[in-house]
């Protein structure tokens, strides 16, 4: 092999893209949970076996190095993947071999992975929603049945705006709500639900400007992924990060406004959609997950190709977006709500040990909330145990 073996470039562009996006989302998820836990969490408890654990850890590290070297040395046969570029281009009609592998050649693998994601997201939601599983996100106004954006904006513009909210900040005049003239709409709809000291106007403005661009980039990655690095996973993660930004900038009500859809339904629809597109070829007398493509010459756009495995990728995209929304809804919004519930009208929610002042009254009756139970009863009961 003439290629520089120690070169840092492994030729894995899809991996780099997905890994960077996943690490970002993982970091945000980590912080979302850890901000509600005391700083003493995660201290080393098993002091007694520290040396044993260290020895086992080093042993595993050495063992896996040997495994890697031996496995690499055993690759003497011609790899099957030499045929994949041809298969991907001729059969899958895509240039990005990794993406065609995921959505076409090894589509069942991806379908199983999507199922794992749905199960994990369901587990997250059922662990965090202690007493209820709300089907809809908290919205701003009472007339939340109408998801029409412009009508909502108009209503927001008519609502009295507090003096603290976005004084001196106005969006561009293209918004239809600007017909009111002197009325000012906030950059993010739910920005004024935050306490003034927790708001960052700069963050709200930047998120407002970037959100739609990020969604467009995510859709571009989804459709371009068949031929260049990208695909449903990367696209869905970018869209998920866009929602993360909306949530971080303006809180849980903003999340409800940004994605007024049940994350569980999105996850289920994504899996059903992908599974459905996988099964459609059976009705045409070929194997499941067989893909085909259509070509057309359109007057303005020009030459257009559409590969049916893109539909499968759309299912992947929906599942990843649903996973991100589900995590934000559970580990973000619901934890916020429980925190507010715990603290009531306490004005200092950000002290050292959040949530530790009061023993959770829901812990003994997870089926129905009993806010009247005095918290000290649980505490004494636990301490006498």
């Amino acid at each position: 092999m003439a290629w520089p073996l120690s070169s840092p470039c492994r030729g894995a562009a899809d991996l780099a893209l997905t890994q960077a996006l996943v690490e970002t989302v993982t970091l945000v998820t980590f912080v979302l949970v850890l901000r509600r836990l005391p700083s003493a969490i995660g201290q080393d408890h098993g002091r007694r076996h520290r040396i044993v654990r260290a020895v086992i850890g080093v042993g595993v590290g050495i063992l896996m190095s040997v495994v890697a070297v031996v496995a690499l040395g055993s690759r003497i046969a011609e790899p099957i993947s030499l045929k994949f570029p041809e298969l991907a281009y001729e059969g899958g009609h895509g240039r990005n071999v990794v993406n065609v592998l995921l959505v076409d050649i090894r589509g069942w693998d991806t379908l199983g992975e999507m199922s794992v994601l749905v199960v994990a997201a369901t587990g997250v939601a059922s662990l965090v929603f202690l007493s209820r599983r709300s089907s809809d996100m908290p919205r701003l106004g009472p007339e939340t049945e109408r998801p029409r954006w412009f009508a909502h904006r108009k209503r927001m513009a008519q609502a009295p705006i507090e003096a603290t909210a976005s004084a001196g900040v106005t969006p561009d005049g293209a918004a239809p709500s600007q017909e009111k003239g002197n009325q000012r709409t906030p950059w993010l709809l739910a920005g004024k639900t935050l306490a003034p000291e927790n708001r960052s106007i700069i963050l709200e403005v930047v998120v407002r400007l970037l959100f739609h661009s990020a969604i467009i980039v995510s859709v571009y990655l989804l459709f371009a992924g068949h031929n260049i690095p990208g695909g449903g996973f990367a696209g869905g993660l970018v869209a998920g990060l866009a929602f993360v930004a909306r949530y971080l900038a303006a809180g849980r009500f903003e999340l409800g406004e940004a994605a007024p859809i049940d994350a569980g339904k999105l996850l289920g629809f994504g899996v059903l959609f992908a599974g459905g597109t996988a099964l459609v070829p059976i009705f045409f007398g070929v194997d499941a997950l067989t893909s085909t493509w259509f070509e057309a010459e359109l007057p303005v756009i020009g030459h257009l190709e559409f590969v049916t495995s893109t539909l499968f990728d759309i299912g992947v995209y929906l599942v990843v977006v649903g996973l991100a929304l589900d995590i934000l809804r559970s580990l973000g919004a619901e934890i916020d709500r429980q925190q507010e519930e715990d603290h009531g009208d306490e004005s200092s929610p950000d002290d050292g040990i959040p949530g530790a002042h009061k023993v959770n009254t829901l812990s003994h009756t997870p089926d129905e909330p009993t806010p009247d139970t005095p918290a000290t009863a649980n505490a004494t009961e636990r301490s006498t145990r």
Partner: protein, 149 residues
């Protein structure tokens, strides 16, 4: 076939640290260990994927033998996303454990220890862990009572 020594060393360190953290009793440390082991396994697959090459994107003048093996890349891509999903689940588990039991520690299962035979060393460890746990509980509950009364 030769491999990058840096990648192998990095993988070994990730595995060692990950297994060390996984063997602890704190769930937060277990989650960090899980993330390390997950990344180490992805690196393992990447190492045994063979020599580096061009990105596996079909283009004119690029032979399949010049490309990096696309199959391990697809496997790693799947693993990355699943690692994310499972770590989110573990985070929810940590939050739930803290919110309900005020504990981040996985204690020994008494029934399991009894089934495994009455080993005196395990009993010792069990009692010391229980003391640790109850000490922390009273600390927090003392605060809770002070706050609510």
């Amino acid at each position: 076939m030769s491999a990058s020594l840096v990648l192998i060393l990095l993988m070994a360190v990730l595995y060692a640290g990950g297994v060390y953290l996984l063997l602890g009793r704190s769930m937060t440390r277990m989650l960090l260990g899980f993330l390390l082991v997950g990344n180490a396994t992805n690196l393992l697959i990447l190492i045994i994927a063979g020599p580096a090459g061009l990105a596996p994107i079909v283009a004119d003048g690029v032979e399949p033998s010049e490309m990096h093996d696309p199959l391990p890349e697809a496997l790693i891509l799947t693993a990355i996303v699943i690692t994310f999903g499972v770590s989110a689940f573990l985070l929810a588990l940590i939050y739930r454990s803290w919110r309900i039991a005020r504990a981040d520690v996985v204690t020994s299962d008494e029934a399991d220890v009894a089934v495994g035979g009455a080993d005196s060393s395990i009993d010792d460890e069990e009692s010391s862990e229980a003391e640790d746990g109850s000490g922390e509980d009273t600390e927090f509950e003392g605060r809770a009572e002070a706050k609510t009364s």
